[in-house]
């Protein structure tokens, strides 16, 4: 590999060059949480580096899987993309669509690129019709005192869509779309099972006909048979409405099932990024190898013969990440003097395959 072939990922920061087929471009996103000491005179003594300079693009109509273990920064990334958290640095470009008056009378849809990270509140408010989120815990994310009708119609009320009667019709339609009975409108969340509640959360996210949905561990809290139902539903909805998903999960088998492309995160960094099948059959980063080899497969013969890469030690604290490659403290192939000094950049090593490692190599893990 010559140096010419090493092209660092995410160097394009100009929104004007964002390709037409890209819906979201996250560029050099950084999120740090200050650590403060003292009761009256609080002073900052450090920072939790939750997300450290990550870049990725989500194309229209695709599902991008963001996968990693607890503390890797995947949920923080989701919240920054939604601007539920203020990014410390970096841009989150979104290709929005707006209805404007056409020169010849009537209206037309025009698209332009806005930076979610710096957008003002009026712009954000309009944007939220196009970007929605579904959370992990269907018990905590639905207000127990609201009926299903008021939960699902709330986005419509906030954005002043339709009359009360039209909204009720829309709610019934949405419930049918997610596989719930339209007669359930006057029930409360506690009357539903976990899987049904997650369907309510999805109906709420769909209410404003969004184009982009962030799914933050949407099936992790569900039993296997219910998880399969919700995954099937998400795929059907994507096909029917042409939705684009950012799918965040820790379960690598679920991510393989639903994603078109996958980014693997470790300690606030993207370590590998590839087309789905490339990532699973030709992983090149030692962390991806370990992660994939650790996932159990429901097949006894295969499991008994599989070689497992057992990582030693624990994930370092994000308030004090190691110098050089963040994985070097646990990496089975780390080279002292290189990996603990130089930080590897995300480099292109194949068609659409980006790896941040000084010594990348394909390794089969099953």
């Amino acid at each position: 590999m010559t140096t010419e072939e090493v092209i660092s990922y995410g160097t394009e920061t100009d929104p004007e060059d964002m390709p037409e087929d890209v819906l979201l471009r996250v560029s050099h996103l950084v999120k740090e949480f200050p650590i403060k000491r003292g009761i009256f005179f609080k002073s900052q003594v450090g920072a939790v580096h939750a997300v450290s300079d990550i870049s990725f693009q989500v194309r229209k109509g695709e599902t991008l899987g963001l996968v990693g273990e607890s503390g890797c920064g995947k949920s923080t990334t989701a919240r920054c993309v939604m601007r539920l958290l203020e990014p410390t640095e970096g841009q989150v470009y979104f290709r929005r669509e707006r209805e404007v008056a056409a020169p010849g009378g009537g209206t037309e849809i025009v698209s332009d690129v806005v930076d979610i990270a710096t957008a003002d509140s009026a712009t954000m408010r309009a944007l939220r019709r196009q970007i929605q989120i579904v959370f992990q815990d269907p018990y905590a994310s639905l207000n127990p005192r609201m009926t299903v009708a008021s939960i699902v119609s709330e986005p419509l009320i906030v954005h002043r869509v339709g009359t009360a009667q039209e909204r009720l019709e829309k709610v019934k339609e949405l419930l049918a779309v997610v596989g719930l009975s339209p007669e359930h409108t006057n029930r409360y969340p506690h009357e539903f099972s976990g899987g049904q509640r997650q369907r309510i959360g999805i109906a709420r996210a769909l209410a404003l006909n969004p184009r982009f949905i962030v799914l933050d561990e949407p099936v992790s809290a569900l039993d296997v048979s219910i998880q399969a139902q919700v995954l099937n539903l998400l795929q059907d909805l994507q096909e029917e409405y042409g939705l684009t998903y950012l799918f965040i999960a820790h379960d690598l088998s679920v991510v393989r099932h639903i994603s078109d492309r996958v980014a693997v995160m470790y300690l606030g960094k993207i370590v590998e990024f590839a087309e789905r099948d490339t990532l699973y059959s030709e992983p090149m980063h030692p962390y991806t190898h370990a992660l994939l080899s650790a996932v159990p497969i429901p097949d006894p013969e295969l499991e008994r013969s599989r070689e497992r890469i057992i990582l030693q030690g624990e994930i370092p604290s994000p308030s004090d990440p190691p110098p050089g490659c963040r994985f070097n403290t646990r990496c089975p192939i780390a080279v002292t003097g290189k990996c603990d000094v130089d930080e590897p950049l995300l480099s292109k090593l194949g068609e659409g395959h980006w790896v941040a490692c000084h010594f990348p190599a394909v390794r089969k893990v099953f």
Partner: protein, 338 residues
């Protein structure tokens, strides 16, 4: 050669609630041989954990009650033991590891104090000897600087390290049976691999029988010799791991396997999910409990509850009226290798 260590016969554990009687475990029978690693799989509410709690004598009347059943552990009927005698068995000859190590460890005592307490209770040793055994058991679970870490409190350990401490505590008295209830569910996948690896090596080394309760069929595939699938308080299928994974005979086991997303599945296919949701254990359906969700149900399924009975494969039992005529083969070793 079968050397039965634990035999559970027709166990029924019910709970009285305001809405009615919850039949959490309703007629469960199985055995575990010495050295056998048995997996119990099923979804929430299937009765997996209550089965384990019943064996450990942790069902507290009047809320919960073991209505009938025999739990025969090496010649002892655990259900007839006096609490004093049961206390010697629990933690000594049978140990249990729970899902959440933070709630199972006492936060105000050091790990050493808690280990020493268990060891002194079950083994006739002095406190200083117990401390040595405690340090050795932390070393066995590969905790660095075991002697020094005895003086640390649970919060000073990470999640994976805490689960190691729980395993050390469970195995410190060399139990004959280890019951592990979702021991790795709260852990990240690379930590899970570390812990399962460790449990497998320790159990193998000591010949400990293990009853592993989990919802993760992948974990069972790698860890267990035999598997029982539970649904709504009963066992619907039981057999060797290969029997259950390659030749499931109950439509529920078959549906569960088809619902799983697989790491090695190259094609993006639609998941073959089980429709509907598990029944309320207060109002169980008439006849077969899986009938409302079953694609193969016929009239007889509504009339009679199928009992766990033999199939055409030795040691593979199934509770389904149509087991003999259905061919549910889903995964073959060849198919999976592709």
């Amino acid at each position: 050669m079968s050397d039965v260590l634990l035999a559970v016969e027709d166990l029924r554990t019910y709970f009285a609630t305001e809405e009615g009687v919850v039949r959490a475990v309703d007629g469960v029978s199985f055995t575990i041989d010495r050295g056998e690693r048995r997996g119990v799989v099923g979804e929430s509410g299937s009765g997996k954990s209550v089965t384990a709690m019943s064996i450990m004598g942790l069902i507290e009347p009047p809320a919960g009650q073991i209505v009938t059943g025999v739990i025969n552990f090496d010649g002892l009927n655990l259900l007839e033991l006096h609490e004093d005698e049961m206390r010697k068995v629990r933690g000594g000859r049978i140990a249990m590891i729970f899902q959440d190590p933070m709630t199972s460890l006492n936060p105000v005592y050091t790990v050493g104090q808690q280990l020493v307490e268990t060891i002194v209770l079950h083994q006739n040793v002095s406190k200083s000897d117990a401390r040595e055994i405690a340090a050795q058991s932390l070393a066995d679970v590969q905790i660095p600087y075991p002697a020094a870490r005895l003086d640390d409190f649970p919060h000073q350990f990470s999640g994976g390290m805490r689960q190691r401490v729980m395993i050390a505590m469970g195995l410190s008295c060399n139990p004959e049976l280890l019951i592990a209830d979702e021991p790795t569910t709260a852990l990240d996948v690379t930590t899970q691999a570390q812990i399962l690896d460790l449990m497998l090596a320790l159990a193998d080394d000591r010949g400990t029988s293990v009853l592993l309760i989990t919802h993760d069929l992948g974990v069972v595939a790698g860890f267990c010799d035999t598997v029982q699938v539970m649904y709504a308080g009963g066992i619907v299928e039981s057999g060797s791991a290969n029997d259950i994974f390659y030749d499931p005979k109950h439509p529920y086991s078959w549906g569960l396997l088809g619902s799983m997303t697989r790491l090695d599945a190259a094609q993006q296919h639609r998941l073959n999910s089980v429709r509907g949701a598990p029944p309320s254990v207060i109002n169980l359906p008439q006849g077969c409990r899986f009938r409302p969700r079953c694609d193969f149900a016929v009239d007889v399924c509504q009339q009679r509850l199928p009992l766990l009975g033999p199939s055409d494969v030795e040691g593979h039992t199934v509770a389904c009226h149509r087991a003999a005529e259905l061919d549910l083969k889903l995964v073959t070793p060849e198919g999976a290798a592709q």
